[in-house]
Amino acid sequence: MLTYADHNSLPNLYKILTGEIMPKHIWVDATRCSGCKICEQICAKTHYNAQNPSKAALKIHTVFTEEKIWHTHSVCQQCGPNAPCIKACPTGALYWETNGKMAHLAINLDKCEGHFLCVSACPFNAIYRHPTIGNPIFCDLCGGEPQCMRWCPMGAIRLVE
């Protein structure tokens, strides 16, 4: 079961199963969100030091239909060490990282060869491929202090378990 996961996944899984760590993920309250995309901008700034919302790991979609408009989002749900993306990675570059309190998906860039199988494996469409970046983009919770949460003017972004 754990063969495709990184070596440090086993203790993490143990911690998760025993309730020591609860994997958290970003969640956007659609009733508060205004679709301003400040979160996307700060995400790209934090990770790539660029003014470029298309490099963000959190995407806000404003969906238009004849009947209504609503704001929805897609962001890594931090499925855990058994995530489909981790399973799909042919080089074992994706792994489940922990910093003691927070567990999140992480990538070993030395191993990543840019097959992007994780992108198609993700059931939430939350791993992205950017035309100018050779590795997948996904949410790493900024190592425990998500910047999008800090910047959201509407207070719509929360960490949920």
Binding site: C36, V63, I69, W70, H71, P153
Partner: protein, 625 residues
């Protein structure tokens, strides 16, 4: 990119629709440093490239779609774009700004601005990405309303796009057509949509993924965060995000400036039912913000009762004032329906409200007859009449064909008493502030460089505090100050003015952000100097088109001078022509223009507009020293 280090991405796209040519050109240092962007580029490019007397609806007219150095960045409320062209409604300079995702998408695909020339024979739309620019066939979109069009574009190109589109109004060359983005955002009141319709350009769509260069990105983000926190600590913030501009309805009623029955009454009994409180409590279903905006004002509202149930639209004060109280409609559901129709058809809500009210008033006064209206009885407070009339305007039936020209031309054609009831300046319909007893706001409408619009100098709130009776230099100074800031600074940086006007954001943030992003150290005074230069060039543009200038062109609507307010606390009040003339004289003096409103030679020289002097003198216009 040459000398430009950040803010501007450095390229302008030039599209010739007649030949199907697509060219790129570098942003020159002069254009960037001296004209900044947005409105500055709009007027500069149109002045340089258009011949005097260009027919607005001909392939010779050009559209400039311009962003500014701060557009599409983390700067609060920076999701704006300026669209400019020679106006088919007024015959002079026309521009408008629109809150849209096209701003950052255009810059991320590598262009600061687009210049559209010529006219296509068949419907097309522009598809812009960093991989290239295509002129694509739009025959499947032609005839569709703006909402259907945008849904199809998002289906074809993915949801992550920025687009401005036109509707059937612009296709039928209704003179006050606008461009629409994201269902409810409109821009380009002086018929910029009509120019696009004439060029058979259905939409401009961009998707970008390149970085926008910034000199000091860390400083810019820190400043933006600080500015954001400042905004959100304002006690008015909560009310603003609940009601947005809609809270002005109640304020206007109290101040006696709510336009009612074609600017007759100054107050409206049913204002509560179309007010901001009612909207926020009963009708609002979602907040919608422009790109990068921490104080979203988009009130997506849904009709709850009656036959318009489940219709939704994005409400704003101007829309509600003009399509509600101005035609006597006190039902929010009906206003939502009318607003939605205007957005679907891509016509300006302000002008639509004004022409409908104008037609109803003429009918009520017996100036036009049932024969002219095609058998339709026009009466106040009747949503069905308003909707039918609006449909006639879009389709060009009966009197609708006349009204589609805007109130000025319609009044001239009807003749007789009609021009007295046409509420416009320079041909552009007045937006929703009744200035029978507000001389400074009247001056602001009179001297606005695109015709009567509130975006340049919205002094009315200040004027109410200062004293509406007074006629003095302070009012003129305030109008000029607001024109510098709102019509200058914000329009050239192409960011939204609302953080400053509504939540008192310190203006000093803008030079600081400008420095962090572009690396250029400009003081506010330098922006004001550029703003004044732009106002002079816009005035020169009008003079070049008309071949002369009269101070009557800078007068507010005749009705404010001649027909007093009929009821309420301001009953009997009207604007004094003498007072207005005094204000106008002071305004001209402060601007360095002569008695007729023509810039003096010394003024133009001060701003380095020597080529303007040569062009105007060649056209036989006498400039005083």
């Amino acid at each position: 990119m040459g000398e430009l280090k950040g803010g501007w991405v450095g390229k302008i796209l030039r599209v010739d629709l007649s030949k199907g040519n697509i060219k790129e050109q570098e942003v020159s240092k002069e254009l960037a440093y001296e004209w900044i962007g947005g409105r500055g580029w709009g007027v500069k490019i149109l002045w340089d490239e258009l011949e005097a007397g260009t027919e607005p609806l001909s392939p010779d007219n050009k559209i400039v779609i311009a962003t500014g150095p701060l557009t599409g960045t983390i700067v609060p409320s920076s999701g704006k774009v300026v669209v400019a062209a020679k106006s088919p409604l007024t015959g002079g300079y026309g521009d408008g700004n629109i809150g849209t995702h096209l701003g950052h998408m255009l810059k991320m695909s590598g262009y600061d601005a687009i210049i559209i020339e010529g006219a296509s024979k068949k419907p097309v739309y522009l598809w812009i990405t960093p991989n290239g620019v295509e002129i694509k066939d739009a025959s499947h979109l032609w005839g569709k309303n703006t909402i259907e069009t945008e849904i199809i574009l998002r289906r074809d190109h993915g949801n992550d796009i920025g687009a401005i589109v036109i509707g059937p109004g612009a296709e039928n060359l209704v003179k006050f057509s606008v461009v629409i983005s994201e269902y409810g955002r409109a821009g380009g009141r002086p018929g910029i949509g009509t120019v696009m319709g004439h060029k058979k350009l259905k939409a401009v769509v961009a998707q970008g993924w390149n970085d926008i260069p910034m000199v000091d990105i860390d400083a810019a983000y820190e400043l933006a965060y600080e500015a954001r926190r400042y905004l959100m600590s304002n006690p008015g913030y909560r009310k603003w995000i609940e009601q947005g501009t809609m809270m002005t309805v109640e304020w206007s009623q109290e101040a006696g400036v709510l336009p009612t029955h074609n600017f007759t009454d100054g107050e409206f009994e049913e204002y509560m039912s179309i007010g901001g409180e009612t909207m926020a409590k009963t009708y609002k279903m979602l907040r919608k913000g422009c790109f990068s905006c921490p104080m979203p004002c988009g009130n997506l509202s849904i009709a709850r009762f009656g036959k318009f149930e489940r219709t939704w639209a994005e409400l704003d004060y101007e829309n509600v004032g003009m399509l509600g109280s101005n035609i006597g409609i006190g039902s929010m559901d009906a206003v939502i329906k009318l607003n939605r129709l205007a957005d679907e058809w891509g016509v300006d809500t302000i002008s639509l409200g004004s022409v409908i009210a104008f037609a109803i008033e003429l009918y009520q006064r017996g100036i036009i007859s049932k024969k002219q209206t095609g058998g339709l009885e026009l009466k106040w407070s009747d949503p069905d009449t308003a909707i039918q009339l609006a449909e006639m305007i879009i389709k060009g039936e009966a009197i609708g064909k006349l009204l589609a020209e805007g109130v000025k031309k319609a009044a001239e054609k009807i003749g007789g008493e009609a021009p007295k009831y046409a509420i416009h300046v320079k041909g552009l319909e007045v937006s929703a502030y009744d200035c029978h007893a507000a001389p400074a706001m009247a001056l602001s409408y009179g001297t606005s460089p695109i015709g009567a619009h509130h975006k340049d100098a919205w002094v009315i709130s200040w004027e109410m505090k200062y004293g509406r009776e007074k006629v003095d230099k302070a009012k003129v100074d305030k109008v000029i100050e607001f024109q510098r800031i709102r019509g200058g600074l914000f329009e050239i940086l192409t960011v939204c003015r609302l953080p400053w006007i509504e939540l008192a954001l310190d203006l000093e943030y803008y030079p600081k952000l400008f420095k962090a992003i572009t690396g250029l150290d400009y003081a506010l005074d330098r922006f004001y100097f550029i703003a004044d230069k732009i106002y002079n060039l816009m005035r020169a543009f009008w003079i070049r088109e008309f071949g002369h200038w009269k101070r009557e062109y800078d007068y507010p609507p005749r009705k404010w001078f001649e027909v007093p307010i009929s009821k309420g606390m301001l009953a009997g009040r009207k604007l004094s022509k003498e007072d207005y003339d005094r204000l106008l004289d002071m305004y001209y003096e402060a601007r360095g223009w002569d008695k007729n409103g023509v810039p003096r030679k010394s003024t133009l020289e001060k701003f380095g507009l020597t080529d303007v002097i040569a062009v105007l003198e060649k056209a036989g216009i006498k400039l005083s020293e």
